[in-house]
């Protein structure tokens, strides 16, 4: 029975707008379906390698260990913990983020040399994360209520990996304060509802960046994760590549790891 309803829903969201559904309703319905399919991973552990590349092709590397805790709630989004392994001078630094839907997010930074936990302003959504082409807001949990949506069209998926698939093209508009974007356009495939490409439009509504998602693999048969993310900045010709390894979902992460008072014992 559940399967039948599910199939009906998929048919519903992927069918033509025969039911006089507005593009806004359709965009939201597709995003909710994608969200619903990705729920239930509980918590995760993963290692991330970040390679920054400037317009001359010079590269520098950062390595991080990420932990995330899934929260299914109307008020609070996921919690995430980023622990720096390199560059060597920032090894042991940790950043803890709690996302919320209606109130500002909470963020704490642990500075290992001083053994100091500093609560920092979360207003810095559009700033660069550790000098990369990713802004803080690009890496925070992409929770459904953080945007409004508009379905644009269907077209073949734009990445090599998904070129056999058809994609929904959905425009989304940030609803949270201090975003550096007026809008984003995403390509979500119709088979697994995975985002394959995301275009970012800056405050002047210029197409500033494009994020490519690749090397999707499923965990426990249903939780799909991209293992390679490439962010291109069209204005500066800089590029940042994220490579993920050793994903663990339902990893039984101790919840106290997400307590700001416990940041000092990570290293």
């Amino acid at each position: 029975m559940r399967k039948l309803i599910f199939a009906a829903l998929v048919a519903f969201v992927s069918s033509s707008p025969a039911l006089a559904e507005t593009p806004e309703q359709r965009g939201l319905a597709i995003t909710k379906e994608a969200q619903k399919r990705s729920e239930g991973w509980v918590d995760s552990k993963v290692e991330m390698k970040m390679i920054l590349e400037n317009s001359q092709g010079e590269k520098s590397e950062r390595n991080m260990r990420l932990r995330a805790l899934e929260l299914i709630s109307d008020i609070d989004g996921d919690k995430s913990l980023t622990y720096f392994l390199s560059p060597a001078d920032v090894q042991g630094t940790a950043l803890l983020s709690f996302t919320h839907f209606t109130t500002p997010d909470d963020q704490w930074l642990f500075l290992p040399a001083l053994k100091r936990v500093k609560r920092i302003a979360s207003a810095n959504k559009s700033g660069s994360f550790v000098g990369s082409e990713f802004a803080f807001e690009d890496l925070l949990a992409q929770e459904v209520p953080r945007f409004t949506y508009k379905y644009l069209r269907d077209e073949p998926c734009p990445t090599d990996e998904a070129k056999a698939l058809s994609c929904f093209v959905i425009e989304r508009f940030p609803t949270y304060e201090n975003s550096g974007y007026t809008r984003q356009i995403g390509w979500t495939d119709k088979k697994e509802f995975l985002v394959r490409k995301l275009q970012y439009f800056d405050r002047k509504s210029e197409h500033s960046k494009t994020l490519h998602f690749a090397e999707y693999r499923a965990y426990q048969g249903k939780f799909w994760r991209a293992h390679k993310l490439v962010m291109e900045n069209h204005q500066t010709a800089k590029k940042t590549t994220l490579s993920f390894s050793n994903f663990e979902l339902n990893a039984k992460v101790d919840q106290t790891e997400f307590d700001p008072d416990a940041l000092g014992r990570l290293r």
Binding site: L52, N54, S60, E61, S86, P87, A88, D89, V90, Q91, P104, D106, L114, K115, R116, V117, K118, R119, I120, A121, S122, A123, N124, S126, G127, S128, V130, G131, N178, G180, D254, Q255, T256, D259, P260, D261, A262, R265, R267
Partner: protein, 387 residues
């Protein structure tokens, strides 16, 4: 045997840095006993070792040493940390030499009291000596509770007789006196509670034991007058609050201390406001202002922060090299004596870092307590190699 097998399976993580430093003193020393080298080089090494045999246990050892060309007291070494941590999730226990930071302010750390300051390293009281401790932390739904038993006291370090920046009289730690007959073996206790109440973080702490700040007692010795440190028994209650509102951080630290003459009250209140992506660049500019009040009398250790205003800026370029510049000035409201500071840091290459620091006195009032420091402008240039 299983334990041995596990031990072999978990490698010991070795890291740390080696640093080459030159300190520059552009003005001649005030006192004849101080060295006269405008360029004063030194080398420092901080090796760190960590071993995690399993998810609960961590062994940490951090040593520090410096060899200084001109100041024999600055040629020194210390074990910053040598402790075992047992992490049970809701609670943890740390035993050994450890380091703890309390507080929220930037220009003065009033509430922070567990570790002794290593003033021969830096006058900003952010370099600390390893403190012997047993520390239990319990995370509960009504905040985190921390209890400390501190069985041994570390004496504060100062520059040597010939060192710079220096004191008006040479400092002689061998003449240290203590209120407690147990001297440095007096067992100190501390308790702290901290909790998050929405946008507000609150910490409340109490310390009972040997005060970390010595009174400097002028003492006549056969080789001339010196400062001998005297360490009192004190009780200090501290409060620290930070409200985090959009791009604003509002901060308050306050202490009440008894045991050094009349009960004293001191407070630091201020804010940090950040302008993100200044003028549509990637730069962030933080504006910092703090006011210091300290009501201590002449029976308490001397402080420069009796009635002072600090204003500063923190510029972060958010580039690949994490380049940042911190500039500030501390003005004494009564005497107008001013200390200006600048700190710059950037990554030169992977594993290499450059740091520059400057402390200058643009104006020192005649007869003020800082008048002994008026020529002690100091610039530091440091290259660090992390491993």
């Amino acid at each position: 045997m299983a334990w041995t097998a596990a031990a072999q399976a978990t490698p010991i993580d070795v890291s740390g840095y080696v640093a080459a430093e030159v300190r520059i003193f552009p003005a001649e020393a005030k006192f004849a006993r101080q060295h006269e080298n405008a360029f004063s080089p030194s080398m420092a090494l901080q090796p760190e070792m960590r071993w995690k045999p399993d998810g609960e246990n961590t062994l940490t050892i951090i040593a520090f040493g410096r060899v200084d060309a001109d100041d024999s007291e600055r040629t020194h070494w210390d074990i910053r940390e040598a402790n075992w941590l047992y992490n049970a999730g809701d609670w943890d226990l740390r035993i050994g030499l450890g380091k703890v930071f309390w507080g929220v302010a930037e220009s003065r750390h009033l509430v922070d009291i567990i570790n002794q300051s290593d003033l021969v390293e830096s006058l900003d009281e952010e370099d600390k000596l390893g403190q012997p401790m047993a520390n239990l932390n319990v995370i509960t739904c009504i905040g985190t509770w921390s209890a400390f038993v501190l069985p041994y006291f570390r004496e504060r370090t100062f520059a040597g007789s010939d060192g710079r920046p220096g004191l008006p009289l040479p400092f002689d730690e061998n003449l240290a006196t203590f209120e407690s007959s147990d001297k440095e073996r007096h067992v100190d206790y501390a308790l702290r509670w901290q909790e998050r109440l929405g946008d507000i973080d609150v910490g409340l702490s109490h310390f009972h034991g040997t005060g970390r700040e010595p009174r400097l007692m002028p003492t006549l010795t056969p080789s001339g007058p010196v400062f001998a440190p005297h360490y009192d028994q004190i009780d200090q209650t501290g409060l620290d609050i930070q409200a985090t509102l959009d791009a604003w951080l509002l901060k308050l630290e306050a202490i009440v201390r008894s045991g050094q003459g009349e009960t004293l009250f001191a407070a630091t209140a201020g804010f940090e406001y950040t302008l993100y992506q200044l003028f549509e660049t990637t730069y962030d500019l933080g504006l910092i202002a703090e006011y210091h009040h300290d009501g201590r009398g002449s029976d308490a250790p001397f402080t420069v922060f009796n009635n002072d205003i600090m204003a500063g800026t923190r510029l972060a370029l958010n580039d690949q090299d994490d380049t940042a510049v911190l500039m500030g000035a501390i003005l004494d409201v009564e005497t107008q004596t001013t200390l200006a500071t600048i700190e710059f840091s950037t990554r030169l290459a992977d594993g290499w870092k450059l740091e520059m620091e400057g402390r200058i006195f643009p104006y020192v009032a005649n007869g003020s307590v800082e008048s002994n420091s008026e020529r002690e402008h100091t610039f530091e240039l440091r290259v660090l190699r992390y491993f």
